[in-house]
């Protein structure tokens, strides 16, 4: 089965007065059909810019400088803006962290949804309204018919995020890119959204890229996980493998920094130091200044190693016995 999305050697740089800021640096990955992929990393690691690059949403001074983004075999980077518009919102949809920023505050939810339907399909307004209402019902919004006439501020945070998901679902896309969609929500509401997303992705056979800084959320949701650090994917693989037997020291560092990793009351084990500034990344492995396993060889670029469905960039990976 061909993958929905194949990203090859993607580099997105921001041209600043102090030089090129390599937000995304030589990133390659694939997303299979019906697959849920979690993209995790700390702030500034380039995970959101990876998502924006796929949809062609990177604004100047940012620019995709290299790579291929194959969506169902077609290179999105070679497409004309007009062709891209037929894909964006129809075949690939995006959900953002803060729906208050993405919904228009002066238009009713129904108007915005009908607009979205009619942007891609030549249907009557009545039919578009019908489809919008069905989508709202699908994501668990009570009395969808009345809610179509409500404005975004009349919804709570969790409900607004449901509206954003409903809009993403309107055209039954092949791929949804969700950028920290539950970060701003409360625990019980986050749980409701995760429940709905998992159900809907399964029901419609959609692939999903879930961008998050929360390993716990990704652990519960994703099939596969990719860990980004300083613009690169440093480790990728099945969720179970990566989280139980991490190969890259950064992944293991992230996992042992959470409070649950140490007995109550004992000091936590943070990764020492700070993430390097994207303008002045060290050569070679960007993590080596913070890494306990680093040696001289880490000053050269670690190649991507692929073994048993796992990928990692490290000269000194953790070894786990087969048993």
């Amino acid at each position: 089965m061909t993958p929905v999305l194949e990203v090859k050697n993607l580099s997105t740089h921001f041209m600043t007065r102090r030089g090129a800021l390599k937000a995304v640096d030589d990133v390659s990955f694939t997303v299979g059909q019906r697959e849920i992929v979690g993209l995790v990393g700390e702030s500034g690691s380039g995970k959101s810019i990876t998502g924006f690059s796929i949809l062609g949403l990177v604004d100047p001074p940012g620019r995709v400088v290299n790579g291929q983004i194959l969506f169902n075999g077609d290179d999105l980077l070679k497409m004309s803006p007009a062709a891209m518009r037929t894909i964006r919102g129809k075949r690939i949809a995006m959900i953002f962290q803060d729906p208050m920023m993405t919904l228009n505050p002066v238009l009713s939810v129904g108007t915005q949804m009908i607009e979205t339907v009619q942007a891609h399909d030549r249907v009557s307004r009545a039919e578009a309204r019908q489809r919008s209402r069905d989508a709202l019902g699908l994501v668990g919004i009570p009395s969808p018919e009345e809610r179509l006439d409500s404005y975004p501020h009349q919804f709570s945070g969790g409900m607004r995020q449901r509206v954003a998901i409903a809009i993403a679902l309107l055209h039954r896309p092949d791929l949804i890119i969700a950028d920290e969609p539950t970060t701003a929500l409360d625990v019980t509401i986050q749980s409701q959204i995760l429940f709905e997303i998992k159900r809907l992705a399964g029901e419609f056979g959609m692939a999903l890229i879930w961008i998050s800084h929360d390993l716990g959320v990704v652990a519960a949701l994703a099939d596969r996980i990719m860990v980004m650090y300083a613009g690169r994917i440093v480790e990728a693989g099945r969720v179970d493998g990566v989280l139980t037997e991490p190969r890259h020291p950064y992944t293991s560092g992230l996992l042992s920094a959470v409070p649950a990793a140490v007995p109550r009351g004992e000091p936590l084990r943070p990764i020492p130091g700070f993430a390097p500034s994207p303008l002045s990344r060290p050569s070679g492995c960007a993590f080596r200044d913070r890494c306990a396993r680093a040696t001289d060889i880490c000053a050269t670029e670690p190649m991507l190693e692929i073994a048993a469905g796992r990928e990692f960039r490290c000269f000194h990976p953790h070894l786990w016995s087969a048993a």
Partner: protein
């Protein structure tokens, strides 16, 4: 430990504290009322009749979802916002009765650390003044010695003292939070009220800051009221966890007791929904419904519209906090049923 603490005087205690926010009627509405429109002031009961004692040396965690009143309660207990009902006592003295020097001393002894340091640090001031101004004004340190004093503090919280002449925007989020901590420590406080102080930080930086909090506790004999929505963080560092829902305390216990044996259905749901790396559940069993608006809280138990175990009594009568076990209280009508059942169960074998 609880017994020992119970004998000492609480450092700060909230006694039936309520905090209401209301919007006064404007002229048009008042005129409309003259014609019998019957408009009323809109009142939010952010904190509704809460009792909470924090003992010296304790770390109390206050958890709940957004809008549950945990921040408001924290502010009221830190003395930066007056209570609209009830009394906050500092070492047994009502805050409202404190005058002059005592009041000033109390104000300095309770300091707050906020979520977003960028909005609490004056962007036009250098770090040295941000940290050093308060101790200088309050006569804790002489102007001449301020730089050394601030440098020592900065070093203690993990800031490079050579950065003292920089401005807040030149620091990362974690470093800014360290500036906020140094500023609070500069006036030698007894109580730190941390309002979501680590919520905006990445996991690794969060661990660094939490470790710093725990070290400072040892070193300066601090007491913490730690407000957070993150049960994982609260479980790790607190001696006691207080769960709030819509302005009321619904449960309070030690972290081990709370996580092993949660009594209130809301606490149970919170713990169940906590995403964890270790527990890769494929099924979510979310509790239904939205958090109700605090403008119109439901009658009876505030949680009853979402509670899977609600029965008739929950809809009319407000449950009171009852002790389930030593140091474990919860406000749920199921407690009465459970007591009923257990007394029956224990009574039968005796006969």
């Amino acid at each position: 430990m609880t017994n020992m603490l119970a004998e000492t005087m609480p450092l700060v205690e909230a006694l039936n504290v309520s905090r209401r926010f209301s919007r006064k009627l404007d002229y048009a509405e008042k005129i409309a009322n003259l014609f019998g429109a019957g408009l009323e002031e809109k009142t939010v009961h952010a904190v509704d009749d809460v009792n909470l004692a924090v003992y010296p040396g304790e770390v109390v965690g206050l958890v709940g979802e957004s809008g549950c009143g945990k921040s408001t309660l924290g502010r009221v207990m830190a003395g930066i916002m007056p209570a609209s009902g009830g009394e906050v006592c500092w070492k047994g003295q009502p805050l409202t009765s404190l005058q002059g020097e005592d009041k000033r001393a109390m104000r300095l002894s309770a300091q707050m650390i906020f979520q977003d340091p960028m909005s609490t640090l004056n962007p036009r001031k250098r770090v040295i003044d941000l940290i050093g101004e308060a101790p200088k004004v309050h006569g804790i340190v002489k102007g001449r010695e301020m730089r050394d004093y601030v440098a020592a503090l900065a070093e203690r919280v993990g800031l490079d003292p050579s950065y003292l002449d920089r401005y807040p925007h030149q620091f990362s989020g974690g470093q800014r939070q360290r500036i906020g901590i140094a500023r609070a420590l500069a006036v030698k406080p007894k109580l730190l009220v941390c309002d979501e102080s680590v919520a905006a930080l990445d996991v690794s930086i969060q661990a660094q800051i939490l470790n710093l909090f725990m070290d400072l506790r040892q070193e300066f004999g601090l007491t913490y009221l730690f407000i957070s929505h993150d049960l994982g963080v609260v479980k790790h560092i607190c001696d006691r966890v207080v769960v709030m829902y819509l302005g009321r305390v619904v449960e309070s216990a030690t972290p081990d007791e709370l996580f092993d044996n949660p009594k209130h259905p809301y606490t149970q749901a919170l713990i169940r929904e906590l995403p964890s790396v270790a527990d890769r559940r494929r099924v979510f069993t979310p509790i239904k419904g939205e958090i109700p608006s605090p403008l119109h809280p439901p009658p009876g138990c505030h949680f009853h519209p979402r509670c899977p175990k609600a029965f008739d009594r929950c809809r009319v009568e407000r449950p009171v906090l009852k002790e389930n076990a030593a140091g474990h209280v919860s406000a749920c009508h199921l407690n009465d049923l459970a007591v009923h059942q257990t007394t029956n169960a224990t009574a039968e074998p005796a006969i």
